[in-house]
C-alpha cells in the first residue's frame, strides 16, 4: 500500500525551495563584507601570522569601537579557491590577504581591487616605513594595490653544521664549492641536499636563484614582461643545465621527487642527520625549530645565502622568495568600509605591538629601522640575518609561481618537475616554456 501524499503541498514546498535557491544564487549587487555582521571584514590565512592578526584586531577594535575590523581565517589552498569564487561573485571581503604578483594582478585586471596609491601618497610616513623592494610585488603600472602585513620570506640555504664538520667542509660560497661539497658528502655516505620535490615549488627556488645569479634580475623581468623567446635566454638555459648537472651528480637526497614539502619531511631529513643541506624559504626555520627544538638550540643549524656563480651577472646579495603577504582592499568597498580599512592598514598594521608580535613569532617584517628591536628577540641571530638579507638585497625576486599568471606558473612547475626527473633536457625545458608563454 502506497501512502498518498498531498501532492499540492509538495509542489508548493518544492516551488518554495526552488525560489529560495534561485534567490540565493541570484543575490546580486555589492555585498562586500555583507552577511558577516558588523565591522569591516578581512580574510586571512590560518598559517603564519594568525596570532598577530588576532591581537591586532582586538587592540584596534578596543580603540575604534565605531570602525571595527572583523577577521575570518582560512587554510592556505582552499582559501585561494574560496577567495576567487567569492570575489568573482561579488561577495568578497573588504580586505583580503594575498601574495602579490600575478595572482593579485588578475584581481586588479578584473577591477576587483582598489588602488591604494593616493592613500599611501597622502601619508609619506606610512609609505616610507615599508621596504620598496617588497612593495613592488603589489605594484602594477605604478599603482599600489596591496600593502605587506607580515614578515619577509627570502629563500636561504640551511645546513647541518654537524654533517659539514664531519666531512671537514665549509658552507658553499660558490656553485663550484657546492658541487665539490656534493662529491665529498656522497663519498661519506651523506645525502647532500634534501628537497620536497613532490610539491614541485621547492624545485623552483633552484631555478630562480640560478637564473638570477647567471643572468641578473633582467632575465626574469623579460620573462615576466612576456617577451618573445625570453625563456630561451642563455641564462635560463645555463641555469637549467646547472640543475641537470646537480641532479646528475646526485646532489639531491634519494627519493626527493616523492618528498612532500607540506609535511616538513624535507626539513626532517636535515635535522635527523639524513641530509646536509636544504634550500628553503625563511619559514623553514620555524619548521625545523618546531620539528627539533634541540637541533636549533644546540647550534647545529647553520644558514647562508645562495652560492655565487663565477662569471655570472647577478649580484650575490640578490634574493628570491616570497616578499611578504599583502592585504588588498576590495574595489567594491563602500566609502565607510574603505575609510576604516585604510586607517587600519595605516595605523593598526606594523605599529609597535604588531611588529613585536611578528618578531615573537619569528616573522621579520619588511619595515625600516628595526635593528635594536631585533636584538631583543630570542632568536636574534636568525631574525637579524633575515632582516639584513632583505634590507641589503639589490633585488628581491618574488617567487615565479606567484609572479607569473597562475596558468603559466602551473606549466612552469610541471615542466621543471620533468627537468628534475630527467624526463626532458634543459633545451626542451626552455623550448616548452617559450611555447607555453605564447599561448
Amino acid at each position: 500500500m502506497t501512502p498518498r501524499m498531498p501532492s499540492r503541498a509538495l509542489i508548493t514546498a518544492s516551488a518554495a525551495v526552488l525560489t529560495l535557491t534561485l534567490a540565493a544564487c541570484g543575490s546580486s549587487g555589492r555585498t562586500a563584507g555583507g552577511g558577516s555582521g558588523d565591522g569591516t571584514l578581512a580574510w586571512a590565512l590560518t598559517q603564519g601570522s594568525e596570532a598577530t592578526f588576532r591581537a591586532s584586531a582586538t587592540e584596534w577594535n578596543k580603540a575604534h569601537p565605531d570602525s571595527e575590523i572583523t577577521y575570518q581565517y582560512f587554510q592556505n589552498d582552499p582559501y585561494k579557491q574560496k577567495l576567487r569564487t567569492a570575489v568573482g561573485a561579488g561577495n568578497g571581503p573588504v580586505l583580503f590577504e594575498n601574495w602579490g604578483g600575478g595572482g593579485l594582478k588578475s584581481y586588479v585586471d578584473a577591477g576587483k581591487v582598489a588602488d591604494l596609491t593616493p592613500d599611501l601618497d597622502a601619508s609619506p610616513e606610512w609609505k616610507n616605513r615599508i621596504f620598496p623592494s617588497v612593495l613592488k610585488s603589489a605594484t602594477f603600472d605604478g599603482k599600489v594595490y596591496g600593502v605587506p602585513v607580515n614578515g619577509v620570506q627570502p629563500v636561504v640555504l640551511y645546513y647541518s653544521k654537524e654533517l659539514l664538520e664531519q666531512v671537514g667542509a665549509q658552507p658553499p660560497k660558490t656553485w663550484d664549492d657546492l658541487l665539490a661539497l656534493v662529491k665529498k658528502l656522497k663519498a661519506e655516505g651523506v645525502a647532500p641536499i634534501s628537497m620536497g620535490g613532490a610539491s614541485k615549488w621547492p624545485d623552483l627556488m633552484w631555478l630562480e636563484y640560478l637564473v638570477d645569479r647567471v643572468g641578473g634580475p633582467e632575465t626574469f623581468a623579460n620573462i615576466a614582461a612576456g617577451k618573445k623567446g625570453a625563456w630561451s635566454d642563455p641564462a635560463v638555459l645555463k641555469a637549467a643545465q646547472m640543475i641537470k648537472q646537480l641532479v646528475d651528480a646526485g646532489g639531491f637526497a634519494k627519493g626527493f621527487t616523492s618528498v612532500s614539502a607540506d609535511t616538513g619531511q624535507a626539513e626532517a631529513q636535515l635535522y635527523t642527520g639524513k641530509a646536509a643541506m636544504i634550500l628553503q624559504g625563511s619559514w623553514g626555520y620555524g619548521t625545523i625549530s618546531t620539528g627539533s627544538p634541540k637541533f636549533v638550540s644546540e647550534g647545529h643549524l647553520g644558514w647562508t645565502g645562495f652560492p655565487a656563480v663565477t662569471g655570472g651577472k647577478g649580484d650575490a646579495t640578490n634574493i628570491v622568495g616570497n616578499t611578504a603577504n599583502f592585504f588588498s582592499l576590495s574595489g567594491q568597498a563602500s566609502a565607510k568600509e574603505r575609510k576604516t580599512a585604510v586607517s587600519y592598514l595605516k595605523d593598526g598594521v606594523y605599529n609597535d605591538t604588531y611588529v613585536d608580535n611578528l618578531l615573537k613569532n619569528g616573522d621579520v617584517p619588511p619595515v625600516k629601522d628595526l635593528d635594536t628591536r631585533l636584538k631583543a628577540t630570542d632568536n636574534a641571530d636568525w631574525t637579524t640575518y633575515v632582516y639584513h638579507l632583505a634590507r641589503d638585497a639589490k633585488s628581491f625576486q618574488l617567487s615565479w609561481d606567484q609572479a607569473l599568471t597562475p596558468e603559466l606558473g602551473n606549466e612552469l612547475l610541471t615542466h621543471l618537475d620533468q627537468l628534475f626527473l630527467g624526463q626532458i633536457s634543459p633545451e626542451q625545458f626552455c623550448a616548452q616554456m617559450d611555447k607555453a608563454a605564447t599561448k
Binding site: G88, A198, F256
Partner: protein
Amino acid sequence: MALPALLLFALFALVPMAIVVYLSFTRWDGLGSPAWAGTDNWRTALTSDVTRHALWLTAKMMVFSWVVQTPISLLLGVFVSGKQRYRALLAVFYFVPLLISTAAIAVIFKNLLDPNFGLGAALDLPILGQDWLGDPQLAFYAAVFVIAWQFVPFHTLLYQAGARQIPASLYEAASIDGAGRLKQFWHITLPQLRYTIVTSSTLMVVGSLTYFDLVFVLTGGGPGYATRILPLDMYITGFQSNQMGLASAISVVLVLAGLLLSLALLRFSGFNRMRSQQAGM
C-alpha cells in the same frame, strides 16, 4: 508525483551541466565575466598532449583497476561467504579500509611509501624502500595498488552477498556427482555470480573515472605527468591554472566518457535484459 523530483534533478544536475557546456565555449578565469571563445577550448582539449595523455592514463587506470581488483574481490568474496572458523574475524579486519576516508588513506600511504621515513626505511627493507611515488615509472602502479586496497573490500562485499545467494542445493548435487571444490567453483559459483560480476565491474569501470581525491592527495598528478588522470587534469586546469573554460570542456569529455561506458557495459553485458534469478535458475 514525479514533478518535485524532476525539478530538483533539473535544478541540481541538468542546469549546472548546461552551464558547464556553455562555459566550455568561453574563456574565463573565475573572476571577471566569461568571454566567448568559440571552439578554442575544444580544439585545445582534443589536441593537447596533456589532455590526451590524461585520457590515456584514465583508460589505463580503468583496465588495471579492473584486472587487479576483480580476481581478488571475487576470490575473497567467495571465501568469506563460506563457513570457515575464523571467517567472521577476517571479515571484520578486512573491511576496515571501507571505513577510512579516502584522504586519510592517501595520507597514510604517502607516509608508508616515503623513501626516507616510510616502511622501507623503518624495516630496513630495500625492496620496500623504492621511490614509489617519486619515480614516474612506479607512481602509476603505486596509485593502482592503493586504489585497490581501498576498493577491494567494497567489491568483496558485493561478491560475498552474491555468493551467499547461491542455493546450497546446487553444491550438494554437485558433490554427489563427484565434483571437487575447483570444479564447483568453476561450474557453479562463477556462472551464478555473473550478474554480480557485471554490477561490480560497472561500478569499478565507471568509478575509475572519478578517482580524484586519492590520487590528488597521494601524488597531485606527479611526478611530471605520471598520474595526471583526466579528473585531475580538469581540476588542475580549472582551479590551479584558472582556465575555467578549458576545464569545462575537459569535464564534458569526462561526462561523455562515463555515459558511453555505462551504455556500452549495459549493452554488451545484457544487464538490461537481466532475467530473474528466482524463476529461471
